[in-house]
Symmetry: C2
Subunit: 228 residues, 2 copies
């Protein structure tokens, strides 16, 4: 299986990062195929009607299989496991991980990524001009309220959804790591979240993300530092 | 288990409808608790940080369990099953159902519901004035392109994700049924989709939805008709 698995991804898209983290946690070996989803000839258009990464091409029981977007990737990884990996065995923790997955998929994406990553990442990529101060302020205010919510969760729990690492941690870390690259997170303000993030950052699955570089924008001074 | 399951839902929210369809398909008995999520004292605020239905309160292995929002509800239902119910056993169909789930969760919600259901449903509910012609036109154009995509899928397959009914069918039917209540779907233009929808409409899980009534807006003439 593993030698024929290909991941189409964009290194600074949170969902693509979450797919890399999940494949890494599952110790699935894969070939990276970086794509630029905003370009007309992006190869993902051939497989996925939405045109969005992440897309995985693999084989399952000898048959070719295409997994379009994060829920299909996470679901397939979990389907392969003999014991729960990306979700806890505990029903309450499973429900909480699924709730948080949806929270990031909609609320965090709409309120933070669509504003802050648009200003900091999409504008330079698509040559849309400099960031707007007002939008940056809105995005940063929204980010603060999400970080406060996450801080409360990990102050009371080992991991976001409970006692076990879950897909919620990988997805949250995927989103936060892109914002951290652009220097948008002041970790000193969020001590429990900082501890949680440092645990994730130390995992082998995280290492490739810390080597990603965005053309024209160097990472924050602490981005790749395990002891930040 | 079943006698202590409570569903907090809003009858014209697509995600709430999908939860009712999935609980019905799983033959789980539950008590309906209709809520009005736009009101400050909506009881869902006590359980779910987003304030959104559907929320299920149940017990699992003797312990109380709260399931916040559709992915947690669908996941828990599937976790209870001895054989796959809301997802096929086939890996490609599972991936396709998960892809389509995400498609409705984001693309259909943003491009159709957020426009058309805002104009037709939220404006009367929240007393925001009459619908705007331009927004209606945009929403209807978007709906048409989604219906064309769905028509192509079910022209080539028994169900949306392949040979088996899946959560993708329930979610799609949940969204379309709300739009159908408001008379937004001209079924004669989509013959394969009409056949697919009539198969769903005939299932016992669908019956309660056909009895829903929106205060001040009667349903389309064919809404509750199995032979439409």
């Amino acid at each position: 299986m593993s030698e024929s698995t290909v991941l189409f991804h964009f290194a600074f898209q949170p969902a693509s990062r979450a797919a890399r983290l999940a494949l890494g946690e599952a110790r699935i070996e894969w070939t990276d195929t970086p794509v630029r989803p905003w370009e007309d000839d992006c190869p993902v258009n051939d497989f996925n009607p939405s045109g969005l990464p992440p897309v995985v091409q693999t084989t399952d029981r000898g048959r070719p299989l295409t997994l379009c977007e994060l829920p299909a990737v996470l679901g397939w990884i979990e389907d392969q496991q003999k014991a729960p990996l990306l979700l806890s065995a505990d029903p309450a923790e499973r429900a909480e991980a699924r709730r948080l997955t949806g929270w990031f998929e909609r609320r965090f994406t709409d309120e933070v990524d669509a504003v802050l990553l648009h200003e900091r990442m999409e504008k330079p990529l698509l040559k849309l001009g400099p960031p707007e101060a007002r939008a940056l302020r809105h995005g940063r205010d929204a980010l603060k309220s999400h970080l406060a919510m996450l801080e409360d969760l990990v102050a009371a729990r080992d991991w976001l959804a409970g006692r076990r690492l879950s897909q919620a941690d990988l997805i949250a870390a995927a989103h936060l790591s892109v914002l951290d690259y652009f220097g948008e997170i002041q970790w000193a303000n969020w001590p429990s979240l900082k501890t949680w993030y440092s645990k994730l950052k130390s995992r082998p699955c995280f290492r490739p993300l810390l080597a990603d570089r965005f053309v024209g924008v160097p990472p924050s001074a602490w981005y790749a530092d395990l002891d930040f």
